[in-house]
Amino acid sequence: MQPHPIIQVSGLSFSYNGNAVLKNVSFTVHDHEFLALIGPNGGGKTTLLKLLLGLLKPDSGDIRIFNEPPSRSAHRIGYVPQDVAINKSFPISVIDVVLMGRLRSHQGARILKQDRKAAQKALEQVEMIDYQDRRIDDLSGGQKERVFIARALATDPDLLLLDEPIANLDNASRGDLYALLKEINKTKTILVVSHDMMVLSTYVTAVACVNKDVHYHDKAEITEGMMEMGYPCPVELIAHGIPHRILKTHED
C-alpha cells in the first residue's frame, strides 16, 4: 500500500511577540509513521504541535492534516499535553479524565453508555483499567501519562500527538511507555515531542529536528548514522546497534 501523507506543512512561519519561533518550515508525515520531534528547549517543538492542533494560528504558510486545515481536523487528533500534573489536587477520577476524550463525539453535552465503554476500552489498552475509580492525583507520573494517553485514545484518533510524554519518568517507565506507543503505532500515526534528545530508534521510524526550522530524517538515515549526513542535529543519539555518540552541532 502506498503511504499517503497525513500531515503536510509548507512554508510555515510563526512568531511570538516579534520573536520568530518557526521560520519557513516544511515537512510531510505519512501514515503509520512514528515520528520523534527533537530539539533544544525553546526550539519551537510545542509551538509546532499547537499549530498542528489549530490552537495557534500561523503567521504564514500552510498546514494540512488529512488534507484539511487544522481547525477542521482537530477531532481526528488525539492530543497528550506536556504537563499531565496540571491542576494538582483537582478532585477527578481516572475514568472521568478519560471520559473527557468522549466529549462532543455525538450530539449533546451528556455522556452516554457507549462513551463509558469506549473510555474503559482505552484504559484497558494502556493497562490502567484497575485504577479507573482512583483519584488521578494518587497515581505516579508514569501511570498518569498512561491515563492521558487513554484519554487521547478515547477520542478514536487517526493521529496521536504527544508532548514530552517521558519527561518525568524513570528509565524503566520510559521503556514501557515506548513499547506501548509502538503497539499503538500499528494502527495510528504518532508524533512525539521529546526534549530529552534521546531517541530510541527501535521505536521511531523518523526523526525531525526542530530548531526554528525543521530537518526531517527518515528511518534509513537514522540507522545509517546521522554523523555522515549533510546536516546532523545537535543531539545525543542512542540508536539500536549503533554505539552511543554525540552528534556535532550543525552550522546553519
Binding site: 492530543y79 491542576n87 489536587s89 478532585p91 477520577s93 473527557m100 462532543r104 477520542t155
Partner: protein, 275 residues
C-alpha cells in the same frame, strides 16, 4: 433553637441559609477549582457600583445590581481569557472602580444613605420572603445548568485546551458560567452580605476538595458543610446575641482551621511512615 423557630424571621433566615448553601456549594466548587476566588471577590465588590446606580437613577435594585455586576464580570472574563497573566491587576481595578462608583453615587443621591455595613455583612435575620423566591429560582437554574453542562464544565475546569480541541464551546460556557456567578453573588449579597458570600464560596469547597473524588462529591460535601456552618452560626448568634453574618463566618473559619490542621497532622504521619 427550637423555640426560635416560632419567629418568621428565624425561619426565613434558615431558609436563606439553606438556599445560599446550595448555590454557594455548586458555584463555589467551580470558583475554587478554577482559581476564580479573586474574580468572585472582584464581582462581589464591584456590585456595590450597581447598588449606587440603582439608587441614583431610581431603577429597581435587582436590575441595577445584576446588570452592572454581569457587565463587570464579562469584562473580567474577557481579560482572563485573553491575557491570563494580567487578569489579577485588571480585576483589582474593576473591584475598586465599582466600590468607588457606588459610594459617589450614594453621596449624590439626595436624602438616601444606604448602610455600607448591611452591604458588607448582610442581614440574614431580616430577609423578606420575596428575596427567598429569587434565591429559590436561582438555585433551580444553577442545578439545571450544572447538571446539563457537568461534563463540559468539568473538562473546562480541568483542561480547557483539551476541551477546546474536542469542540466544546469553551468561551461561551465561560461567559455563561461567570454570569451565573455574578447573578448568584448579587442575590446572596442582599441576604447574607458581601463578606459572607466570599466565605461561603471558598471555605466549604476548599475543605471538601481534599475529601472528594469528583466535582459532584465536592459540591455535595460543600453544601453539607455550608449548611452546618450556617445553622451553627445562626444558633450561636441567637444564643449569644451576636451579629449573625460574622458569627457564621467565624464558625466556617474554625472549620477551615480544624480541617487544615487535621490534614497537616495526617500528612506528617504519612511522611513519617515512609522514612
Amino acid at each position: 433553637m427550637i423555640d426560635a423557630l416560632q419567629y418568621e424571621f428565624m425561619r426565613n433566615a434558615l431558609m436563606a441559609g439553606l438556599l445560599a448553601s446550595v448555590i454557594c456549594g455548586i458555584i463555589g466548587t467551580f470558583v475554587v477549582v478554577n482559581r476564580l476566588v479573586f474574580l468572585a471577590g472582584g464581582v462581589a465588590h464591584a456590585a456595590y457600583g450597581g447598588i449606587g446606580i440603582a439608587f441614583f437613577f431610581g431603577i429597581p435594585y435587582i436590575l441595577g445590581t445584576i446588570g452592572f455586576s454581569v457587565l463587570a464580570a464579562m469584562a473580567m472574563t474577557a481579560v482572563v481569557l485573553k491575557a491570563k497573566s494580567r487578569a489579577d491587576t485588571f480585576i483589582g481595578v474593576i473591584w475598586a472602580f465599582g466600590m468607588a462608583l457606588g459610594i459617589i453615587l450614594m453621596d449624590m443621591t439626595p436624602g438616601y444613605n444606604v448602610d455600607l455595613m448591611s452591604y458588607l455583612f448582610g442581614s440574614i435575620l431580616a430577609v423578606p420572603g420575596s428575596d427567598l423566591v429569587w434565591m429559590a429560582v436561582l438555585t433551580v437554574v444553577s442545578l439545571f445548568f450544572t447538571a446539563y453542562f457537568y461534563r463540559d464544565l468539568l473538562a473546562i475546569s480541568y483542561d480547557d485546551e483539551f476541551a477546546r480541541l474536542r469542540g466544546v464551546p469553551v468561551n461561551l460556557l465561560y461567559f455563561l458560567f461567570i454570569s451565573l456567578i455574578a447573578v448568584a453573588i448579587v442575590l446572596i449579597i442582599r441576604v447574607v452580605g458581601l463578606i459572607l458570600v466570599i466565605a461561603l464560596l471558598t471555605i466549604p469547597p476548599y475543605i471538601a476538595e481534599k475529601y472528594s473524588r469528583s466535582l459532584i462529591m465536592m459540591m455535595v460535601l460543600s453544601i453539607i458543610l455550608s449548611l452546618l456552618f450556617n445553622f451553627l452560626g445562626l444558633w450561636l448568634a441567637y444564643a449569644y446575641d451576636l451579629t449573625s453574618g460574622a458569627t457564621i463566618i467565624m464558625v466556617a473559619v474554625a472549620g477551615f482551621l480544624i480541617s487544615t490542621g487535621a490534614n497537616y497532622l495526617s500528612l506528617n504521619r504519612k511522611s513519617f511512615k515512609f522514612q
